[in-house]
Symmetry: C3
Subunit: 223 residues, 3 copies
Amino acid sequence: MPTLDRQDAVFVLDLGDGENRFHPDWIASVNAALGEVEKAEGPRALVTAATGKFYSNGLDLDWLAAHSDDRQDYVTAVHALFARLLSLPVITVAALQGHTFAAGAMFSLAHDFRLMRADRGFWCLPEADIDIPFTPGMSALIQSRLTPRTAHHAMVSARRFGGQEAAAAGIVDQATDEATLRTAALELARTHAGKAGDTLGTIKTRMYAPVLTLLRDTTNPLG
Amino acid sequence: MPTLDRQDAVFVLDLGDGENRFHPDWIASVNAALGEVEKAEGPRALVTAATGKFYSNGLDLDWLAAHSDDRQDYVTAVHALFARLLSLPVITVAALQGHTFAAGAMFSLAHDFRLMRADRGFWCLPEADIDIPFTPGMSALIQSRLTPRTAHHAMVSARRFGGQEAAAAGIVDQATDEATLRTAALELARTHAGKAGDTLGTIKTRMYAPVLTLLRDTTNPLG
Amino acid sequence: MPTLDRQDAVFVLDLGDGENRFHPDWIASVNAALGEVEKAEGPRALVTAATGKFYSNGLDLDWLAAHSDDRQDYVTAVHALFARLLSLPVITVAALQGHTFAAGAMFSLAHDFRLMRADRGFWCLPEADIDIPFTPGMSALIQSRLTPRTAHHAMVSARRFGGQEAAAAGIVDQATDEATLRTAALELARTHAGKAGDTLGTIKTRMYAPVLTLLRDTTNPLG
C-alpha cells in the first residue's frame, strides 16, 4: 500500500512495491496522502515513486471484473484522483523507476514533471490493444499534456516507450540512470518547494479547466 | 480516378495519377473505398498513395468556379470526407510521394501516420497566398494534429515544407527515399492491422470530438 | 513612449528604451500604432522592437497599486491589446533584444514570429513566483502558442529561458546574435508583407477563436 514520507520540504509518496494497481483501497490511500500534502503549510513539494518493476499498471481490472456494477463509481473515483493531482497547489514530480502503463501512465501525466529510468521499463497506453477505449476525461488529460503527434501515436498504436524514447517524445522531462533517478526527482521538487500555495493551484486549475470539467463530470464519466 | 486494392490485411487506396483534386466524382470514389474498408472484417489497415508528381492538390477550384451555387454543399462534402477518415476504425497511413497541397495536405493530416518522400515534393498550406481562408472545420483539423508553432507557421506563411523539413516540424512521421516509401507505409500499416475495430474508432472519435463536430456542422460550414 | 516608423513595406514599432511596462498611456500609444498599421493599405508587415535592456517587463504594477479600483478595466485593456495583435491582418515579428517578462512575454506570443538575442536577456513568465495568477485569457493565449510541455514548464516553474533555450523549447523561432537581430526581423517581415489583408486576418481569427473570446470577455476578465 502507498506510504507517505517527508524529507524536509519534500513529501515522498511511495506507490507500493507490486503492480500498484488502482484498487479502491489504494485510491483511498493516495487520496489521504494528497490531502496531507494539501493541508500542510509552508514550502513543500511532492515526489511520487515506487519500488520494484512497476511504477503503476493502472486500473485494477481483477477488482473491476468482480464488481462490474460499480464500474461507473470506480471510474468516477479514478477521474477525481487525476483531477486532484492535476490541480494540486504544490509542485509534483513523478519518478518512474519501472513500468508505467494505462491509468498509471495517465497518473504520471497529471504531475508537473516526470523523470524516467533510462535503461529499463516502459511508459505505455495499451488501451487500443486491450479493447478499453479511453474515457473522454482520460483522453482530454492525455491530450492536454502531450504534443498532438505524441498523443495520437501513443493512444492509437499502444507503443511502449523506453526512457530515452519517452524523453525524445516529450512524454517525460528527462531520462536518467536508475541510481540518480530518485535523487534527481527530490532535488527538482526541493527547488520548487517555495511555489506551493494558492497561486500555483489557481494557475493549474485555469490551465486545465476543460480537462478538470470532464474529469469531474460524475453523470457520465464513461462517455 | 481512385482505385482500391488489397494486399493481405492492407488496403491500398491509390488517389490517382494526376493532380488528384477533389472533384465530386473523386470524393464519391474515395468515400466508396472508405466504406469498403469500414465494412470489411478482421485485421485490416489502410494505406493511401498516388502516382506521379502529386499526392493531391486539394479542392477542385475549376469545378468550384463553374458551380459557385454549390459551394456550401461541396465544402460540406469535403468536411465529411475529412471527418470520416479522421475517425476511421482502422489504422491509416498516407504515403506522400508528391506534392501535397491545401485540402490535400489536410486530407493527409486526417491519417494516423504520414510518410513522405525526402528528395522531392512539398507539403504546403497555400491558403494565405491564394486568398482562401481556412474554414473553421479545416482550421480545427490542422491545429489538432500539429504543434501550435508548426500549425501557425504553416497556416500564416504558406511555407512549402520538403520531406526533411516536414519530418523535423512533426508534420510527417518520417521522410524516406522514394524507393522505400510505399514499402515502409505498407509495413507500418500491416504492423497495426490487428488494431482495427470499434475500440480504435471510439478512441479517435473521442480524441477529435470538437474537430468532428465542426467538420460535421452542415448549417454553416464556411464559417 | 512607443514610436512607429516605416521602412518601405515594414512598419517598425519601437516599444521604448525603459522597462516598457504597460502604463495606460503606453497601451494607448501601442493601440494607436496598431491602428495605423491596420488602416494602411497594400503590402505591409510589422516588426516590434525596443532599445536597451528590456523588450518589456509587462504590467505596470506601480500604476496598478495606485489605481486598484481600476484593476478590472486595466486588465480588460491589456486583454484587448493582446487580442488585437493576435488577430492583426498583417504578419507580425517580435525582435526580442532584452528581457521579455510576464505580460511582455505574452505580448511577444501574440506575434506571428519571434526572434531573440542569443547571448543576453531572458524570456520568462514569473507569475508563479510573484503571486499573480494568469487570468483565464492570458492562460489561453500562452497555451495556444506553445507545446503543452513548454507552456506547463514556463507557467508553473517561472523558469527564465535564455535565447538558445527559448529557441529549443519553441518559444521563439530563432536565436540570433545581437548585431543581426533587427535586420533578420525586418527581412522576415518584408518577405511576408504581401500576405497583409482580410484573408490573413480571417485565418488568425478562426485559429484563435476560443482565445479571442476569453480575451474579449469584458464581464469577468480576472476569472
